[in-house]
Amino acid sequence: MRSLIALLGSVVLTVSSCKTVVVYKDPLEKLSKGTTDTRTAIQTLAGEVNVLTARNQVWDAALKGSRYDEKLLNPLVPPQYIEARVKGLLMIERFAAQMLRVVESDAGALASKQVVDFAKDVGTFAGTINSTSPAKNYAAPLGGLAKVVIDLYDGSRREDILERGIHDGIPAARQVLLVLESDFKPSSPVNLDKMKNEELKSLRVHQIAAYDGILHSEQALTETDKASPARVKARFDALHDIIETQRLIDQASSDQVYQTIISLDESLDALVAASKGGVDEEELKALTNQLTTFSDNAAALLEAVTALKTATSADKSK
């Protein structure tokens, strides 16, 4: 009996690495949320740059007295570029979401529950045939052991899927992040934070020019005329615009998107680290306990079967 238990245990251990797939959950959730946040941040920042560029282009046209032209709305950050970068992050997000579905799959848990319920009913059935038979107490431990085996198998198969995903997906995700890091690093010629700052400063140039224009046009006026409420209001509005734009320039936080992209890279590192984790001691302990329970109850059953066989042989020999 002991050698059978040892054999069963070694078979189960060889099909399982005994590492719970839950270790992947946290890094995957961080990766998923991080890519969503970065994607939104890039879209927002690119939108802000293009709105500012359009305003400045309109100012330029107004200064020159140009006719209306649709080119006034020409974006500085091309929509195709935004789409390409956002798509890359979306694919990483989708990859993380699929991996999370694997982690959270409860098909194995449902299967093992069905097997346990079946084993309990087997015990009940054996009891209706012979209420004192050891077979009555043998079914439940058998069900418990089957549950552990199915859970370990389920975990092992899901871990295989996750490890294949990590092996194939991480290099591709890193390539996407490498390009994004290159685009958003402080010295990049397509750094959107820098462009936003430049467009804000261009806007300030126009606004200062507008205010200086008012002052220039008022040079020939008397002090009384200059102090008229309408003129004061016009000067106030023009100055107020400059101050508000300067406030935006001062508030602009640089390289925030770049920092979130670096964090994404760290999330990938955490995912790789999770895949290299060690054996789960709790799962091993659960297997050992179930094997022991199974073994203790099976021994009584086998003794009863041996006794029955002996008695039957003795009857035949009479």
Binding site: A107, T124, R164, S182, K201, V205, A209
Partner: protein, 114 residues
Amino acid sequence: MPDRREELLERVTLVINALQNIQADSRTPLDAALAVVEPIRKLTDYRRAMRRIEFQIHAGMAEYQAAVSQLRRISDTLAADLVAHQTHMQHVALAAQAADAVLSVAIAVGAMAI
């Protein structure tokens, strides 16, 4: 060549910044502040044109497109693997459920006989 373009961008930006500082300085005579706007505008237009070229270069990276396609394929494979795994476990669950249903009938028959 990329370094030359980036260097040129930096130089143009330095000049624009210097002119903007002149315009924003309250000590600059009003006429000079108004006159400096046009050169700032032209240089800013030139810088925007350079940036638009940089975007064209950066958007078309072949390795990036390949990585994005690879991620899509891997996600599809993960989804298929999960479905296969779940189907297998469903079969185990259904087999246990079916055996349990048969056993329930046997228990009920046994109870009736008693």
